[in-house]
Structure formats: C-alpha cells, structure tokens
Symmetry: C2
Subunit: 349 residues, 2 copies
C-alpha cells in the first residue's frame, strides 16, 4: 500500500496562485517542446452525440519525473441533475517507480492552466507596450485570461470585454471583474506582491458591443468562447496585434477568420493537436497554410530557440489547444505544495 493524496476542488483553489501556474505552464511548454516529454494518444469517447463525452489526455514528463492523465467528462444535461457539466480528475504518478502519487479535482487546474496559457501567449508574442486587451467571451474562463495577461503584460490600460451573443452579460461582467480578480486571484498574495498585482488590476474594464470597433483598437485579443464560426474578421485586425485563441479544441469550433493565419506569424502549444482540433485546423484544411507555416511551438519560443514576434507590425497568433503536460505539471506543483502545507487527504492505496 502507498500513501496517496486526494486533493479536492476547494484545495486546488486554495493552493494555486496564478503567478506560480504561469511559471509551471512555461516549464510544461518547454518540456513539451524539448522532445523529451511524450504525449500519449488522446482517447475520446462520445456517450451521446453532442450531449455527453469524455476524453483522457495523458503523457510522460521525464524532466519532472512524473507521468499521468487527466480524464474530463462533459455531460451537457448534468445541470438538470444539479451536477456540473464538466468534471475532471488528474492523476499523477512517479515515473521512476510507477507508484501513484495522488488524484486531484481537475476543474480549477484546467481553468488556471488555461488562463496561464493566455498570459504566456501575450508575454512572448505581444508587443511589450500593448495597452489595449480585448477579451471575447465572458464565460467561466474569461477572468483567468484577464488576470494572467495583466500579470504578464505591465502596460495594459484598458480591457475591452465583448460577448457577441449577449451585450448585457458583457456589461455585468465588466462591472464586477475588478472585484472578482482582487478576491479570487490577488488576495492570495501578501506584501509587495499583493500591491503589485492589485495595481495591475487598476485598469479600465470596458464592455463593448461592437466587436469590429474593439478589434480595431486592440493590441492583444484573447478569444475564449464555444464559437462555431469566425467572430474576428481578418480586415478588422490592425498590424502588430497579438491574438490568442483558447476556445477551439475540437472539430467544428472556430473563433477567428481563418484568413488571418495566412498573414500572421503562427505559434501553437502542440503542432499535431493544433492542426487536428485547434483554431489552426480550418486554415490548414482550406489550404491557406500548411503545418510547415507554423513558426514554432511556444515551448521553443520561451527559451529563445525560436524568435517570437519579429517586428512591431507583425500579427501573431497563439493557438492554445491545451495539452496534458499543463495539467500534469500543475497537478504535481499542487501535490508538492500540499505536502509542505499538509493539506489534502492522505489515504493508503
């Protein structure tokens, strides 16, 4: 029998702070692109077409001495049963011994590592002096994207918030987001760190209903919607803009005009996944670009092996599809912190 730590959602919320997750996800991307890590084949199963599915993403990170998996269920009709639609669990094992280390609630891990991805995309690909951030989508993921980007981009002055389906939602989101960020993210820090991140939230949060107008002003655009058709049109995007696409993670999903890929410098988290299920897939399918036109995986940009943005006029795209390594390394980070703090439940397995 082994000591085995179970970490519930509440504990993942207590333990994780965005600055640490950004650091961890940067490591995960670099390990991914170092060719030493192995992503295992994705398992996907649909229980009821379009209404209930699950996937298992798994892999091995030898540089972190871990392997493991994240299993995510999506049951669209769960709200009728008083249950969340998305339920995820992450399991981490020691890759030197094969012994399981722990199992963790995956929802908050997923939110945090996805937010971190947006912050990292901007950090390495946007112009440093970017002042205007546009967030498309006001769902669960939006605050995570905003917080991470405010942490990595020091010059942001305005955050435009657009919900193409519901301007009212954008209004109420904009009205509450600052308080939301301070409570959920900044309150984790103390002293100078607290001051620093609190001052980062001291920007204008502006609800917009004209997406074209907001796009034309934006230095950084992050799309985090379940959209199935392009919302951001090619001709709206000004030179020098950076775009991170979060929402597209399967066949049929698309957030931005695929013609943008033909003129932009394109980065991804995982080439195979981006071409298969990410935002990149439509552009590749339509022959606007080939896999060879992808400049690099972000994991090669972070250590400087490949240049990110080449000049101030370039449009850059980061297609963030989400990879198992982000979850695994974030989960391993939680297990380490939990061990130090003595949180979570240790059981014998």
């Amino acid at each position: 029998m082994f000591p085995f730590r179970v970490i519930n959602q509440e504990t993942t919320e207590d333990v994780l702070d965005m600055a640490s997750v950004i650091r961890v996800v940067e490591q995960a991307y670099q390990m991914k692109s170092s060719q030493q890590a192995t992503l295992f084949p994705l398992i996907f199963h649909e229980f009821v077409e379009g209404r209930a599915d699950m996937d298992i993403k798994s892999g091995h990170l030898p540089q972190a001495d871990i392997f493991g998996l994240k299993l995510v269920s999506w049951f669209g009709e769960n709200d009728k049963k008083g249950l969340p639609q998305l339920v995820g669990t992450v399991m981490v094992l020691d890759s030197q011994t094969g012994v399981p280390q722990g199992i963790l609630s995956g929802e908050h891990i997923t939110c945090m590592r996805t937010g971190a991805a947006g912050g990292i995309g901007a950090k390495y690909l946007a112009r440093r002096e970017s002042e205007n951030l546009l967030i498309v989508g006001t769902g669960h993921q939006a605050p995570f994207q905003i917080m991470a980007t405010l942490m990595t981009m020091t010059e942001i002055k305005r955050v435009y918030i657009c919900n193409p389906r519901s301007p009212e939602k954008a209004q109420s989101f904009a009205a509450n987001i600052k308080e939301n960020l301070l409570t959920r993210f900044v309150s984790k820090y103390a002293g100078e760190e607290y001051e620093c991140y609190a001052s980062r939230c001291d920007v204008q949060f502006i609800a917009v209903d004209n997406l074209e107008e907001a796009t034309r002003k934006a230095d950084i655009i992050i799309t985090a919607t379940p959209s199935r058709e392009p919302m951001i049109q090619e001709e709206w995007v000004k030179p020098g803009t950076h775009i991170t696409c979060i929402g597209a993670d399967m066949e049929g999903k698309q957030e931005i005009d695929e013609r943008l890929f033909a003129k932009a410098r394109v980065f991804v988290d995982d080439v195979g996944q981006a071409v298969r299920v990410g935002e990149t897939k439509v552009a590749v399918k339509k022959g606007l670009i080939t896999e060879g036109n992808i400049a690099a995986e972000i994991g090669n940009v972070i250590p400087g092996h490949v240049q990110g943005r080449q000049d101030a006029e370039e449009i850059t795209i980061f297609d963030s599809t989400g990879i198992a390594f982000q979850d695994l390394l974030t989960a391993a980070h939680i297990l380490k912190v939990a061990d130090k703090r003595g949180v979570g439940t240790i059981v014998d397995l």
Copy 2:
C-alpha cells in the same frame, strides 16, 4: 465536490470472493460481446526498454452505467527499492453523469479477474467430467487459477503442478497450495458455501517435472507463465483437452505450440487483442489460422449464442488476454459492496 471512495489493496482483498468475481467476469464478457460496450484504444508507454512500462486500458460498459480505466505500471527494478514491480489502479466513473465514483488498488482485482477467466474458460469449454487439471506456472497467479477452476469444475480429482524452470518450486507449491486456497479463498465463505468450496479443495495436488507426461494425462491445462517459447507441444495434447492460455499478453510471449491452434476450436476474450498480443498471435502470424478461424469470443458462448465445445474429442483453446471490462466491472462490484459495508475511505473530490 463529490464523495469519492478510495479502496486500498487490503480492502480489495477483504471484499472480493472468487465466486462473485466469476459471476462478475461472466457478465463482463457478455457485455463485451454484446457489441454495446466500447473498449477504448490501449495506451502503452515504455519508460526504459524492457525494464519499465505502463499501460492504460479503458472502456465504457453502458449496461453497467460505468466507464473508467485501469492504469498499470511495471517497473522491473522496483524490488531493489523495496517496491512492488507491478502497481495498478482502477478508476470507475458513472456513465450517466461523468462523475467519478472511486479509485481502487488494482493488483488484487487483476489477480482475481484473471483467475476467474481461467475458471470460466474451463466451465464453458472443458468436458464436464474433467478430472485432471494441469497448471503450468507456480507464480502469483497459479492459486487464483486453481481456485477458480475447482469452483467451476466439480469433478476435478487431481491438480498437476508444473514449473518447467524449477521443479523445486512446483514441489513446495504443491505442498502448500491446499492450505493456501483454504486460507485465502475458502475462508471468505460460511455455512454450506464454506463446506462446498472446502470440499472442492479436497483433491490431490501433485508436483510434476515431466511436462509431457502431465500434459498427456490432463483434461484441462492452464498456462500462466511469462514464457517466450512454446512449452506444451502439439503431439502431447490428447483429444478432448481444454487449454486456457493466460500468460501471453504481449509481443514475444508464447506458452503453447502454435500448431495446436490449427486443430483446436479456438475461443478468445477479445478477437482484436488475441490476434495482436495474445497466445493466438503466433498462429495467425504464421498463417496456421486466420482471425476467421476463431470460433467465438467467450462472451458469445456464455449466453449460448455460439456453441462452445461440440464433442468430447475436440481440443478447445481459450486465449485469455485480459480486457478492461473485467477490471472495471470487478471494481464496480467492490464499490457496491464497500458502500453496503461502509468500507474504504470516502473523500470529497
């Protein structure tokens, strides 16, 4: 957060009894062959060639309202670290909601469901009046095979035990096995059931070092070894014999002469897996049989959709490769019993 049950190895040993596992595995086989269940693609990863690997077997059993996975690590050098070489965990989720139900230590589940497979092979394919059982292999799995077969086959009088590499091991195994069976398996029962299964152990356990001689006497042969070359030769096997092959589960492993497949009526647990990694693979590769010569999956024999043995002279083979459904349904059975008895550790996930 969800209540989530963690079941350690000790509890799996307390909860499981062989008669129940035989019943559960029969159900698992039938669900498998009913075409309603879905086996997800196997994930296999080698950490160090020939020394450390892991696999993830997963699937969905709609008739049992569950899906899930078994992750098994094999680290050949773990004994130097005072750790077991094989570590397995099974995770079960509700396929109506996607919510995780529990995680279980997988070692004892695997041993029990594999033993049950041997008992079921004999039950449906051997001659009812079979008196002589030959077990090849005296490893961890051998007692499970013997107990299950004594439970399903009422006329057994003699159990021949052969370890082709170490006659001494066969001697000590034979000297202790009856006590071992009574302590580990039969002691779980009370009253009439106890009497019944205890009397089934009242047979002769005979260590043999001449495998040919023992094979010529055997009505039922079960091979459970890590052998990489055929041990049982074709010409040794008498008409009417049933053979269950347990050991071969990957490329390179083989226990019986592949020519036996050309003259036997062949059954498997899963056609694809048997042909790819099971005992059947060599016969298919050498062109002695094709996939089409496999009479049926055992799951079609159990409900009577396909006839098992057709006459008393026929040689039958059951290639048991081990399928995720056996683990998942056994794990779901444990979770049900644990819920009734209030055992295991319930944590919030």
